[in-house]
Amino acid sequence: MKFIPSQDLGAAAFVFQISKQEVEWLLGVLRFYPQLGSGYHRITQGAAEEIKAEQQLLEEAMAQRRREHKSKLEKFLAAPGRFRLEGPNQFRFTLTPEQMEWLLQVLDDVRVGCWVKLGRPELEPAPPKKLTAEQARALSALELSGFFQMVLLGACDGPEPG
């Protein structure tokens, strides 16, 4: 998958070329969403009571955000021609800057959620070697979500879209 700088689009947009295999990986990773539960979030590490009282508000806000992202994701993937065939084994798809931001958050939820599921291991120099089938799937999703995050961020750093 790679970013294709485009001068043709009137509206700001990011265009990506992606192989059939990468489409399958991306869809596979996105099926993991959401991974994080509201209990993951902590408003404070301190003892200030007035801050602790806001913990529930944070959890509700994160749950609401996930519902909204899930809805956006379903609409995004259901859009006809989302991945447009460009050539043998090659597709193109487009993201608006707004879609880019929530997709980054969705991918990060999968990445961090899988890391939590794996027991929050140190990932460098190497992740755990003995894995169950479920852990292996989580590790694959963690790595693939990071891969797609890097490609999206590379586009953010590239030429201005539009």
Binding site: L123, G146, Q149
Partner: protein, 120 residues
Amino acid sequence: MRPFSRLAQKPGRCYISGMSQTAAPIAPPKTEKTEKTEPRELRDRGYVVICWNDPVNLMVYVTHVFQVVFGWPKARAERHMMQVHQAGKSLLARETFEKAEHYVHQLQGYGLHATMEREE
């Protein structure tokens, strides 16, 4: 934080050191400076927003999030990201209760380990 994914190191892939220059910062709620609200404003001052290190969020992603949430230029965002990475945490903002809470919600929405604390 991880520098980058091993998959992203494959030759021929495209990547990155960078960040969005296009996203507008997410505006925190405004606190009106009227006589009526000033006492609350004064009482609330002294909350800090801290981002803590973790081994899973990519460094380039953390920099991007700081740019988007705070509207910082890339150099400042990278400076705080490196502080998180090397020192284990970085103090990102010193704000009123409401604004600090807003920032924590935004940062946690992006999956970062961020908290607000009362400044001693």
